[in-house]
């Protein structure tokens, strides 16, 4: 029995393993909140012609919320409210939340704020993030208002981080401007799965979601499906893999000199 000499192995083998691990952990997937905690500030870009943005935001928020382990000394059941802030424009374009259509858990806990201007909406969002009795905050702002610049989004990020209340900011019909959001998604509707009993009917909602900017994840594209409140993701295309590979390659390059 001869021990394999580790030093004789090519170093690339180790690097491959490290890269693979990094690649796996870097990829976003549902239920990641167990390991990494909640995503505190996400932006979701969507069109006002569909409720895909709101649906995906709720699904992502509920996924994080369910997967976060309950802390010491917290109630076993989280009964905190949810704040939904809309500007009047966003409410006019995309409608207001309808209680009977909300996920079951949220129906009795929604608090809705209608703000006239984007400034008021940002004020309400920031105040909401400071409130310890909120599970998460959803904001809906249409277009690219002047008030919502990088400074404003940085304020929101810092407040969310300080108080640990996640923010999901829906950007309705907006361009991808500067923002300090930790995760930025572009969401559109996708054809749904055929329901079991009626093949003609629309099924459980599905969304095509592109994570185009994220601080701790590789960008990628998924088809998200929310059935019975469980979020599942499937890969949309091969291109996403390549993007992940590029991203982790960059990661590796950055790390190597530090070890040496």
């Amino acid at each position: 029995m001869t021990q394999p000499d580790l030093s004789s192995l090519p170093t690339t083998a180790f690097e491959d393993v490290a890269t693979l691990a990094a690649r796996r952990s870097a990829r976003w997937r549902p239920g990641l909140a167990i390991q990494q905690g909640k995503a505190l500030h996400s932006e979701i870009f969507a069109s006002s012609r569909e409720a895909a943005g709101a649906g995906a935001a709720l699904a992502l928020a509920l996924d994080d919320w369910r997967c976060t382990p309950r802390g010491e000394g917290e109630e076993a059941e989280d009964r905190r409210s949810v704040l939904w802030v809309q500007t009047r424009d966003a409410a006019r374009l995309g409608g207001r939340p309808y209680r009977a259509g909300l996920p079951k858990d949220l129906q009795a806990r929604l608090i809705h704020v209608l703000a006239e201007k984007a400034e008021d909406a940002l004020f309400a969002l920031e105040e909401g993030l400071r409130c310890r009795e909120l599970a998460f905050v959803i904001g809906e702002v249409s277009g690219n208002p002047k008030a919502l610049d990088f400074t404003a989004s940085r304020r929101l990020t810092l407040t969310a981080q300080k108080h640990g209340v996640p923010l999901f900011l829906l950007r309705v019909d907006a361009g991808r401007d500067l923002s300090s959001a930790r995760m930025r998604w572009e969401v559109a509707s996708a054809p749904s799965d055929t329901p079991e009993w009626n093949a003609q009917a629309p099924g459980d909602p599905a969304w095509k979601a592109e994570l185009f900017r994220a601080r701790s994840h590789a960008p990628g594209e998924w088809v998200l499906k929310g059935s019975d409140g469980i979020l599942s993701a499937s890969k949309a295309s091969r291109q996403a893999d390549r993007a992940v590979a590029n991203w982790t390659a960059g990661l590796q390059h950055r790390r190597t000199p530090r070890r040496a």
Partner: protein, 525 residues
Amino acid sequence: MNAFAANLPVSQTRRILSIWLPAMAMDRWRLGAAERREFDETPLVLIADTAHGPRIEAVNRAGAGAGARAGMMLADARTLCPEIVTAPSDPAGDLAFLEKLAVWAQRWGPWSAMDAPDGLLIDVTAVPHLFGGEAKLVADVEAAFASREIAARCAIAPTAGAAWALAHYAAPGTILGAGEDAEARLGELPVAALRLDQDVVTVLRRLGLKRLGELTTIGRDAIQRRFRNRKSPAANPLIRLDQLLGRVPEPLLPVVPQAMPLVQRRLLEPIRHRQLLDQVVSDLADDMARELERRGEGARRLELGLWRVDGEVAVRRLELAAATREAAHIVRLLAAKLDDIDAGFGIEMLRLRASWAEPLALEQGDIEAAAENHGIALSALVDRLTVRLGEGAVTRPVPFASHIPERAQRWQPPLEPEPPSQGQLAFHNRPLKLLDRAEKIAVLYATPDGYPQRFRWRGEVHEVTRVEGPERIAPEWWRERGTARLRDYYRIEDQRGRRYWIYRLGIVGDGRGGAPDWYLQGLCA
């Protein structure tokens, strides 16, 4: 209560003092200013404006001598006595005055009730010995009212009804003893002593029943039959008679004096700058918090009055979502309301009043860290948002009993309890978002089944690939007009997976309008 007392009927143990102020409105007017006493000898009436002209509400002695009566039109009184002097009456002020008198009258008994518009009822059970007997108590009452120059007549009886009747229709200061036969003593009083409505008194007079004693002569059954439909005590002589004699209890609403928490600061030097104002407001909020804490209450509504040097008063009101006595929170909310204050030549006095306070138990303060690190409570959040965004901006959707989707949801203040409702049916699939108004869509091509295959909404064409429906929602005939049309709802998905909730208003040939229109009402997730 000991066994002996428990054996006695309750009505026998109680003593009620009734005070009638026959000329309260006029007395109050006269006491309002010193120079009004000069009108004692001139005919004077208090008038109220009605649709048919001014009507007399109260008359002074000289006016009554000249022929004016309460309830008369002023024009009629003028024909009798052209030199009559008028002054406006003030019913709201009279009621407030009566309320003050009711509190004042608690000097004769532990609780008192208002007997609007011009009477007081005081429970003097087990009190008279403090005044040396009931006769001396009555004398004390008369002396007290005489010294205030208010005409009063009083009586003491075992029930409120009997005391009222004696005060109004018997000699002043009558006392009906606990052991006396009430029926015999009260039998000679007119039927109006039963506190009945005027029309009932008229009916009784037409029946020939003029005195209380005569009510029993025609038999209880006859009166019972006559007034069987009258449930209110003021319309049914039998109920009033039983109350008078203590056979049925008569609940009375006592007046409980309640002082509002109020703090104020008078300033040596009028302030004109915001910084100083903020300092004073924060001092006031601290005082208010201390005052509320002493009483174990929290404020729900606060009123801040700012008295300016030039006599103007600015008032800022604040309503809170939950009772609070946190000074910092109050200051923060008030600060937002003070932005548009015009100080003019300066503000010399500030007063903070909690006009609505609710019990709030004492609780342990934050001993570990400041609230800044802990975040704020939900009620504080709602307050802050409401102050900045206005009333009605912060709401909560609650279900409402209706089949029409846009009516089935209402918005209410966020911290109010949810109204009871029937649960939602599991097979009803509702959209995530509902448009404020259903938007009309142009159907370009419809299948023979009835639903659109291709439609245009907000300038874009949608191809329907999948559909579920119809779910028919009929108009609510008990509420809507007969011409309202039914709705057939469809849940659809278009070629790009966008899901909508659309409906057709009416069906072809329902006789309620032309060809049915299509609307898009909801966006599904």
